[in-house]
């Protein structure tokens, strides 16, 4: 080889080494924390599905037509006198209905209701397993006092090293796309270093698209918090919809109080949401709040939301298919992409499986370093020490 060629080869090698060093140092010092976040996210993405597996009472097993929402509300009010239902939530057809309610003492509670029979299958406190997993993964259970929780920042800042690992990983793994053309090959039995190395490269190549989505949506979460906490002059959320006073009935003396007709309101909302599977019904906590029905509708990756006056069944407001201000729309779609709830069970399974691959990537990266770099460093240090002794 010519002198010129050798120099180019060495320059390329040291550049490659530099990229690899960056790739390692972006993830290694934080791998334990990063692994925890990836693992909790993997669990959280299917938290209701884990409940479905572990607990038959959260399943929607019974055959038959679903009861109207008012029957579900009545079931809660019978079971807990004075309880006022705030949300009725049904994420998937195979899940029962989750109700969140306010107790007369000011606290909150939750319950699962069989959508066909109306029986309350389980009662809980204010915090459910899915909420717990979300809080643990999203903000380390840190409190929200004013603005975004410090835990939110502590978690979302990981998007930066993750993006860095992704980019440096792509650069380091020459022609990674070759693995797509053949069956996954992992050398087992040839030593830990080769096993973890193969696993890491394979996982990285196949999960590339997923890591790009997770890291960039997490980066948005960081941006979103900064925009809010630093009072950026953009609308971060929609102003709450209120019913005008003149659209409310007035109670006549001696007559019973006006009653909200939940079923009529929900039917009116569904008439505007063709083909939508409503996943959430928000009930009013005072006379001026409308009934809000929300679900995935016509446009993929966006929620449709309709607000209805429960006393007149008139539509007060509707937001269909991402008809929102830009930042609000972006925030909505970023969250949906991050948690993978836009395509029912198949997409959730994909998100969970690739979340597992991502978590394994973080872990295997650490194992490679332990088996290769650390060993090598210890050996080099030992041999240097021996030289010094004998010198």
């Amino acid at each position: 080889m010519t002198e010129c060629g050798t120099r180019t080869m060495n320059a390329k090698k040291s550049r490659a080494r530099l990229w690899l060093l960056w790739h390692s140092w972006l993830a290694l010092p934080i791998w334990a924390y990063l692994f925890f976040i990836c693992a909790t996210g993997t669990v959280a993405t299917m938290s209701r599905e884990w409940m479905w597996v572990a607990d038959p009472t959260v399943r929607a097993d019974s055959a038959g037509p679903d009861l109207p929402p008012s029957a579900l509300v009545a079931a809660i009010e019978r079971e807990i006198p004075g309880a006022k239902v705030l949300y009725l939530r049904r994420d998937e057809p195979y899940l029962a209905v989750e109700a969140t309610f306010a107790r007369p003492d000011g606290r909150f509670g939750s319950a699962w209701i069989d959508p066909v029979g109306g029986a309350i299958t389980s009662l809980g406190g204010g915090t459910t397993f899915p909420e717990f997993m979300r809080a643990l993964h999203g903000w380390l259970l840190a409190p929200w006092i004013s603005g975004y929780s410090w835990g939110w920042y502590a978690v979302t800042v990981l998007a930066v090293p993750m993006l860095g690992s992704l980019v440096t990983g792509i650069v380091v793994y020459k022609r990674f796309w070759r693995v797509y053309a053949s069956w996954p090959k992992i050398r087992v039995g040839n030593g830990a270093r080769l096993f973890w190395g193969d696993l890491h490269r394979l996982g990285g190549a196949w999960a590339l698209w997923f890591i790009a989505i997770i890291a960039s949506t997490a980066a948005w979460f960081l941006i979103e918090a900064v925009l809010y906490d630093f009072n950026a002059p953009v609308a971060m959320s929609e102003a709450p919809v209120v019913i005008a006073r003149e659209d409310l009935p007035v109670a006549q003396p001696g007559q019973p109080l006006p009653r909200a007709d939940l079923d009529r309101a929900v039917t009116a909302a569904l008439s505007v949401l063709p083909g939508a599977r409503p996943t959430l019904i928000m009930l009013p906590t005072n006379a001026f709040e409308p009934v809000v029905v929300s679900g995935f509708g016509r446009v993929p990756l966006f929620y449709d939301r309709v607000a209805v006056n429960p006393y007149t069944a008139a539509i007060v407001a509707q937001r269909l298919g991402g008809d929102l201000p830009l930042i609000v729309k972006t925030t909505q779609i970023m969250r949906i992409l991050h948690i993978g709830n836009f395509g029912g069970l198949p997409v959730k399974i994909v998100w969970c499986a690739f979340g597992l691959i991502l978590s394994t990537l973080v872990f295997s990266g650490m194992m490679i370093w332990t088996k290769r770099t650390f060993r090598k460093t210890v050996e080099t240090a030992r041999s240097l020490a021996e030289e010094n002794v004998h010198a």
Binding site: W31, A32, A102, G126, T127, L141, A154, V242, A251, T285
Partner: protein, 153 residues
Amino acid sequence: MLSVWHRGKFYLSALMLIAPLSVVQNYFATSEMVAPSARSLPERAVGPWRATLAEAIPGPPYRGPAGERMKDFAVSFRPEDAAGIRGAFLRVGKPRNLRTAGALAHGSPYRAHAHVPMPENLTGGEELWLTVEGWDGQTHQVVWPLADVMSSP
């Protein structure tokens, strides 16, 4: 000693888990709405009902998304009264009319909270006005000295 550091230094980031571990026991324990240090005032009559006012979160006012100073207050009603109440509004200073009655309290019919705009500088003489509207269209008001329900200015 050095090898312990080299072996274990990359596990240090697991210390981040101290944060959730320290609160996880409390997390499921209660859905208590009132922090122990939050100011809470005795129940008072407002029209035919009775209301209890409290700080929702102790501490100084925070900045809302548009930079405005805000503080959250909680209004509790007796369970038997809640059905007759259309809504409760909280405002610093006497409302001129019903349309400017203040921030609508929401979240629960029994213990609603309102995000109340605060003046930039508090003199200590401000009043917090609660306007409660019934289903008969009648409104009733009660007023507290703002300083009594603020744990810090």
